[in-house]
């Protein structure tokens, strides 16, 4: 019987099996010695003198204004990275002129804030330009789509504006990183301020854009107010992205008996819904609250409508009085573009500055190593003080800025729309990384 089994274990079988065994154990070592196995656009995208980042930002449609601001922030960051500007060196000290000796360039496409368009454009950038990182969102629906696309294609995705809980919650991925905060974080930061200013047991009407950002932010804010202060949601008016005429929703709110309008709409939707709420006489009869402030909101609707409005935001330019880096950023930006940056620009700039830091600290463009650098969770400076990434969900831990709209008469200059009420530390406000079922996925 033993003979029978010995027979198949012939010399040939042993050799073949042995070779296989040797092969499987030695394979990573052999490849490792010569450099890791190619992954995504690596190393193809890093062989020349330049590396390219692909941006898909909305330049048309409901979020066009915010997309354009975001893009300007990115362009300024690229300029600073390539010239080794003092500001970028504060955040990424190892950046000289370019990253790891390579100049960085940006290719840009219009996403129209549509997930399909954004993914298609990025696919084109990966094929044609071998982009080593992708960015752009301004709609969480786009961010979630690009998250999954990044994980599939193994190319880093630096989320730009995106406030949904899903982005680094339910839909988190190993290859995606977010700099702005969760809707839930915003809700937990602004909730106490709302209660302190307006009291308990009030009636609120919500206005919600019909996609992941809107639904998650509305739920988070409503949960906070109802559980902690007995507020009642008397109506939730859900409108499609890109609505122009809000009259139906406003009529419903007018009949709801609400004292407050909590407007979660964003971009042009927010501008139009607030202006029309005024036309319907709802403002100032009801108090307006904006849980996630919109860049350019005050500029577009005018300070008459934003005065007294409470909002949570990522950045407001008067933070320059508190943070030296913010001052450098506002000055550089203002000198180049002729206006003070809003938080879209701050977001775009910081995402690129952080990326430059991580790559230069890791000393390689190899994506898994860059990701591990992010996951070290080192503390580094930003425009709003020291921040760090949370390894478990790739979410930046950063403060939330609470602002209140200034009266037109209190404005010190034409862009002095908001007064910074509070800078709330992010860490205690954040839900646990697994609260929304985050599972990051593989490195390779």
């Amino acid at each position: 019987m033993s003979e029978r089994f010995e027979a198949p274990l012939s010399r040939r079988a042993i050799l073949a099996g042995g070779a296989g065994l040797v092969g499987t154990t030695l394979w990573p070592t052999i490849i490792g010695a010569a450099g890791e196995a190619p992954i995504g656009t690596w190393p193809d995208g890093t062989t020349g003198n330049t590396v390219t980042i692909g941006a898909a930002v909305p330049r048309t449609g409901t979020y066009a204004v915010q997309g354009e601001d975001e893009l300007k922030g990115m362009q300024l960051a690229i300029e600073h990275i390539n010239s080794g500007d003092p500001l970028i060196k504060k955040i990424a000290p190892k950046v000289t002129k370019g990253v790891l000796g390579k100049q960085v360039q940006l290719v840009v496409a219009d996403s129209g804030a549509k997930p399909n368009d954004a993914v298609q454009e990025q696919q084109k950038f990966i094929t044609d330009n071998k982009v080593i990182a992708m960015t752009g969102a301004t709609s969480s629906a786009v961010a979630v789509a690009l998250n999954h696309f990044a994980q599939r294609s193994k190319v880093l995705y630096l989320t730009a504006i995106s406030g949904s809980n899903d982005t680094t919650g339910k839909d988190c991925v190993r290859y995606g990183f977010r700099q702005c905060f969760y809707g839930e974080t915003a809700a937990n930061a602004i909730g106490p301020v709302i209660v302190k200013n307006f009291g308990k047991n009030r009636k609120a009407a919500f206005m919600t854009p019909d996609y992941t950002y809107g639904h998650t932010v509305t739920k988070s804010v409503n949960d906070y107010l109802s559980q902690n202060a007995g507020w009642q949601q008397v109506t939730d008016q859900v409108s499609p992205l890109g609505t122009q005429d809000f009259s139906q929703y406003l009529t419903n709110i007018a009949h709801s008996g609400a004292d407050f309008i909590i407007n979660v709409n964003w971009g042009r939707d927010a501008v139009l819904s607030i202006q029309q709420a005024k036309q319907f006489g709802l403002i100032p009869k009801m108090q307006l609250v904006v849980p996630y402030q919109i860049p350019f909101l005050a500029k577009e609707v005018g300070p008459e409508l934003t005065q007294g409005v409470l909002a949570a935001t990522d950045f407001w330019w008067t933070l320059e009085d508190k943070f030296p880096l913010a001052k450098m950023f506002v000055n550089s930006f203002n000198a180049k573009y002729g206006y003070r940056p809003e938080w879209g620009a701050e977001n775009g700039y910081m995402q690129f500055a952080i990326w430059a830091r991580m790559v230069s600290e890791a000393g390689t463009f190899y994506p898994p190593d860059v990701i591990k650098q992010y996951e070290k969770g080192e503390t580094f400076p930003s425009f709003v003080g020291d921040v760090h990434f949370r390894a478990a969900d790739h979410q930046l831990v950063r403060p939330v800025i609470i602002v209140r709209g200034k009266k037109p008469s209190a404005m010190k200059n034409s862009e002095d729309y908001w007064e910074v009420l509070d800078i709330v530390p992010g860490e205690p406000l954040m839900q646990k990384p697994d609260a929304f079922g985050c599972s990051l996925g593989d490195y390779t």
């Binding site: 139906q248 007018a254 006489g281």
Partner: protein
Amino acid sequence: MFNGLVLGALLALIASGLTIIYGTLGVLNLAHGAMFMLGGYAGWVAFHNTHNFIVAVIAGTLFGLIVGIVTERVIIRHFYSRPPEDQLLVTFGLGIVFVETVRFFFGSLSKTTTLPSELNGIINLGFMVYPAYRLLMVAIVAVALFVLYVVLYRTRIGMIVRAGIEDSAMVDALGIDVYKAFMLVFGVGAMAAGFAGIINAPIVSLSPDIGDAILVQTFVVIVIGGVGSFPGAILGGLIAGEIISVTSMFNPGYSYVMLFVAMTLVLVLRPYGLLGAAGRE
């Protein structure tokens, strides 16, 4: 229902311009949404400089007329005898050029036209409160549509234009300049869009791509009402306005779905639209 009436009146006005151009010249003008936007911006510029809403309305309307006439003279004229797809492409391209030109000069930040305070009030209708201007807009649109109708269907110019479509050689032989009439029709159609653009501006602040969504809705309106039919555009506009508004009350996500469902139903049951003439191409 009121909200639907206001939206419907606006859609009817824009659609009437589109349908006049198609019904008389046979050109499906895909730049119509952009012309609506241009009227709004021209009005805003006038308003910005004079702070007079009436001046703004006149400026927006006249600018629509001028853009229409110039476009017809320089471009559209060469496409009457070309296949319809050429017309679609050239008007679509024109729309993009208009939008991007405005974006270049004015940026994407929205522009607000504020109403004079006497129009800015809120009226208590007993069962609900409603912005006065929105009510006024229905009346303004009704008057504008009536004037358009009289000009095109009850005057000599209108007769010449309609005769020119049937047999331009014959009208030409009678010593009438058909092409001048065509130019005027295109101008009037664009003027209706421009007028709609500026009277709508105080409700919806302006952005360069404001005409995109409107164009799609307008096409649905004229398909429902009957392509090329002036009364059809009005009926279609009111129906579309009510569908969007009533659906929004229950499930906003489906408001456009319902609009297209209605359009499909109309196409199945009456392929030429509710008030369209059977046999029209």
